[in-house]
């Protein structure tokens, strides 16, 4: 409590305008950063005036600092120039540091903020503002091929953790002067940079202002990834369904911008957010546009069908076995009944247990150190597959149901969408086990009501089906072939 109060008091003084004494400013800065080990200041001489050059060694690359600042400043000590005022400093900057990006900070806090984003500070005695020069050169990851949203044919670049790189990746694909990037900052502790991108002639003003509003209204302590932002700005009433797409492919982001959507890029996250996103968008993959339209349509249909299968297959199986054995083909019933003879668990228990085991296996697969990579699939295949059937604990047809369900769930191109399906599946399984097919229909009704009530930035979640938008069907389940657009 006392610490935080002391800090607040200190911050108060830090927000005051700077005085002209360079030593004093340096002291204040040092105090604010708590004499951090990566804070480095060196005295310099510009003509008759002296000053300090401060950097954070962890944020500004030494090599670029050398090239950008030390070289131009080398000769200035011997010159007869005197820098005593802001005007003279500006004149000096124009002469020596010409094209480098810069800013002036009037308070210690501002100066510290610039320092923390990788700038070098030039504090000159007798000037009441601090010159901040962008140095950058921070080590970043190179652009790599996408890991999660792969395509066979098409671009093989993905976003990285660096905001600038990501913006450049989009800008490279849309050489359009109307492409806008707006900066936001969020996270009281992290001060994360967020960029909102849209195409001024495509995106509706109301949509952009809605994004702007939600981004500025964010009040959180920390943001580490775009998923944090997604949670807050989607204002989601659903526990299950995402209303923003997260993408690692610049081409998809660019195409979304052309369609009039907004893109949110968060510094430090290789996934950008795209909104508004409706149900159908989660079944589109970038690869759909790089293959023949018929094939793309077939694949999308398969994805829709497989999602439905993965939702309903276990529930349907259990309800048919429990309540509607007359619906099973006769010979299949003989086989199922034969396999179930002498099995210690009822079908429902076995089905839930096997599905849970599969979930565990999946979780283990993502957690396991890559050195042990082979262990999990082998254990899964042997334990769940052969051994369970041979031991008579579960029937092989049940295993087929569980495996088919999991396989179908993997066909959806957006992982966050397919993973929620797993949760709903358990609910439906319960309904089906208690109430039979009637219960499944209750589940379908509830699910439909829920989906219809959802909105993504003002767009109903089931567009273009409910409400019906005939023209939007050209690129939802179908993919209409590209054509030369009419000049008229």
């Amino acid at each position: 409590m006392s610490v935080s109060r002391a800090l607040t008091k200190q911050e108060g003084s830090m927000a005051m305008p700077l005085n002209k004494d360079a030593n004093d400013t340096l002291l204040q800065l040092r105090e604010l950063l708590g004499n951090s080990s990566d804070f480095q200041s060196s005295a310099i001489q510009i003509g008759t005036s002296h000053g300090f050059l401060c950097t954070l060694t962890s944020m500004a690359d030494a090599q670029s600092l050398m090239e950008k600042l030390h070289e131009p400043l080398k000769g200035s000590a011997a010159s007869q120039l005197s820098v005593d005022s802001l005007q003279q400093l500006e004149q000096f900057r124009q002469e020596k540091l010409g094209v480098l990006a810069f800013a002036y900070a009037a308070t210690v806090q501002e100066a510290a903020g610039q320092l923390l984003s990788g700038d070098a500070l030039l504090i000159v005695d007798g000037v009441e503002q601090v010159l901040c020069i962008t140095v950058g050169g921070m080590p970043t990851r190179a652009i790599e091929a996408p890991k999660n949203q792969k395509v066979i044919r098409g671009m093989q670049e993905s976003f990285t953790e660096s905001l600038e790189t990501n913006i450049s990746l989009i800008r490279r694909r849309l050489r359009n002067p109307l492409l806008r990037f707006e900066s936001f900052m969020a996270g009281e502790e992290t001060k994360t940079c967020i960029s909102l991108a849209y195409l001024a002639n495509a995106a509706e003003e109301s949509l952009v202002s809605e994004f702007r509003l939600r981004l500025t209204n964010m009040r959180v302590k920390a943001i580490y990834d775009s998923s944090n932002v997604e949670e807050i700005i989607s204002q989601n009433r659903s526990w299950f369904f995402p209303t923003l797409l997260s993408l690692e492919r610049p081409d998809t982001a660019a195409s979304a911008l052309v369609e009039g959507k907004c893109v949110v890029i968060v510094d430090g996250s290789p996934f950008v957010l795209i909104g508004p996103a409706v149900y159908g968008n989660f079944f589109q993959s970038a690869g759909d546009y790089y293959v023949m339209p018929v094939l793309a349509m077939f694949m999308r249909l398969m994805r829709h069908v497989s999602l439905i299968l993965s939702l309903f297959l276990p529930a349907l199986y259990i309800s048919v076995i429990y309540y509607h054995s007359e619906m099973v083909p006769t010979l299949l019933l003989y086989s199922i009944s034969g396999q179930e003879q002498g099995s210690p668990f009822t079908t429902g228990v076995a089905l839930v247990a096997m599905t849970l085991l599969f979930e565990l296996l999946r979780e283990a697969g993502t957690r396991v150190p890559s050195v042990l990579g082979q262990a999990v699939p082998i254990a899964g295949a042997i334990v769940l597959g052969q051994a369970a059937v041979e031991a008579g604990i579960v029937s092989s047809i049940l295993l087929i149901v569980v495996a088919a369900t999991e396989l179908c769930g993997l066909l959806v191109p957006h992982y966050d969408f397919s993973s929620t399906v797993r949760l709903i599946r358990f609910g439906l399984l319960l309904l089906g086990a208690v109430l039979g097919v009637y219960g499944i229909f209750i589940g379908i009704a509830l699910l439909t009501v829920h989906l219809v009530s959802l909105q993504s930035f003002g767009v109903p979640y089931l567009t273009p089906v409910a409400p019906m938008r005939p023209k939007a069907h050209r690129d939802m389940v179908f993919r209409a072939p590209l054509k030369n657009e009419d000049a008229s």
Binding site: I321, S325, Y334, S337, G338, Q341
Partner: protein, 402 residues
């Protein structure tokens, strides 16, 4: 207040939904699957019921022991339910009746009056499908076909079912009656029901053992055997497979068939009927029903043993057509006459046709339609059209030097 009421209604419905579920839950290891039911006269009680039960272990790859795929349990009772309950006791589990394929009735059961109350049970029982096939066991006890083992076929009643379907479709030798057809006919004013009949060739108790499956000679066979003629729920007698085809011809139920037509003494021409179409006109004139049946058939010749029929000439075809027409006409007229004289039961549904065509005159005579049926004047006209003959029109029989 309104909110409270809504909450109570919602909660109540939720609780009722959760608590009333599961009442009819059945798991696959808690029931035995019944594939057919056979009913005979009981000794102490009214009915003796035999159920063919599937030994499902033989259908699961890991659990097969090489035992018989089906077994038979029986029980007696004054009502069907009583008999079923006794069987359930023997099985130790619930009976799963929804996959029952066949209902087999004994000749003797149907000749007395005990058959009728029995059908009520089948119609009112929720688990039994109303499209199960019905057969009468001819010359054998109804319990026997259940017990027979047949190679390549895992369930013997399944074989009967497929056989009836295929015979009805490809030859027309069985009426292939389903329960719902039977119930409809038994309640109709202008039609009497029929049931398919099956029999066993060379019945032998050896066929009850799995050892028989290892033999190369399978003498014991279940075969379709024509029609059981009924008057309401009472069995009157049987018609052969050939007569059954005539009955179906008079009802426009023949899809395909094959006729062996005599052309010279002990020589035959085989006519494959590929399409058949019958029109029945019934009216009432001179105090008797007047039935006119027009049968149009199209077909091919598949075999020709007669030298007199030259299929490279047009008159060969016209000759075949005329002898085919005569044969069909003779057969259909003869069978109708036989049914009129021997059984006096309108299994052809002429009454129903009359009801459709002359409703008022039928209403006057419907109370004793069967007597009217016996008096009916029946004329059959056949038009046959033979289109082609295999792949060679000029038979080599004519080229053999004498």
């Amino acid at each position: 207040m309104i909110r409270r009421t809504i909450m109570i209604i919602l909660l109540g419905s939720l609780i009722s939904v959760a608590l009333t579920g599961c009442w009819d839950i059945r798991t696959a290891n808690q029931y035995v699957i019944v594939s057919s039911v056979a009913v005979m006269n009981g000794e102490k009680f009214n009915y003796h019921v035999y159920l063919q039960i599937i030994n499902t272990m033989e259908f699961a790859s890991g659990k097969r022991r090489g035992n018989a795929t089906t077994y038979v349990l029986d029980g007696e009772g004054n009502t069907m339910n009583e008999a079923f309950f006794k069987i359930e006791e023997k099985a130790g589990r619930k009976l799963e009746l929804s996959h029952m394929m066949l209902l087999m009735l004994d000749e003797k059961l149907l000749t007395d009056e005990k058959g009728l109350p029995f059908f009520d049970f089948l119609e009112s029982m929720a688990d039994v499908r109303n499209d199960i096939q019905m057969v009468v066991a001819h010359r054998i006890p109804a319990s026997e076909p259940n017990k027979i083992l047949i190679p390549m076929v895992t369930v013997s009643v399944g074989k009967i079912r497929y056989e009836l379907d295929s015979v009805a479709k490809n030859w027309g030798g069985t009426p292939n009656v389903h329960l719902k057809d039977f119930i409809r006919d038994i309640t109709s004013d202008g039609k009497q029901p029929v049931i398919s009949s099956v029999t066993i060739e060379h019945p032998s108790s050896k066929a009850f053992n799995t050892e028989v499956l290892k033999d190369t000679v399978q003498s014991t066979q279940i075969i379709a055997d024509g029609t059981a003629v009924m008057k309401r729920a009472k069995l009157l007698g049987f018609l052969t497979v050939e007569e059954t085809r005539d009955v179906l011809w008079a009802q426009n139920k023949i899809k395909q068939t094959s006729l062996t037509v005599p052309c010279e003494s002990d020589k035959y021409v085989q006519v494959q009927i590929l399409h058949s179409d019958s029109h029945v006109k019934v009216d009432y004139a001179n105090h008797r029903p007047n039935v006119r049946i027009q049968i149009n058939v199209k077909g091919d010749i598949s075999e020709n043993q007669c030298r007199t029929i030259r299929l490279d000439k047009i008159n060969g075809y016209s000759k075949t057509e005329s002898i085919t027409e005569q044969m069909i006409k003779k057969g259909v007229e003869g069978t109708i006459e036989k049914v009129q004289k021997e059984y006096g039961s309108d299994i052809f549904g002429f009454g129903e046709q009359m009801m459709r065509q002359h409703y008022r005159s039928f209403n006057k005579v419907k109370s004793d339609w069967d007597q009217e049926f016996v008096k009916a004047k029946v004329t059959v006209a056949v038009k046959a059209k033979i289109q082609s003959n295999g792949i060679v029109s000029k038979s080599f029989l004519n080229d053999i030097p004498k």
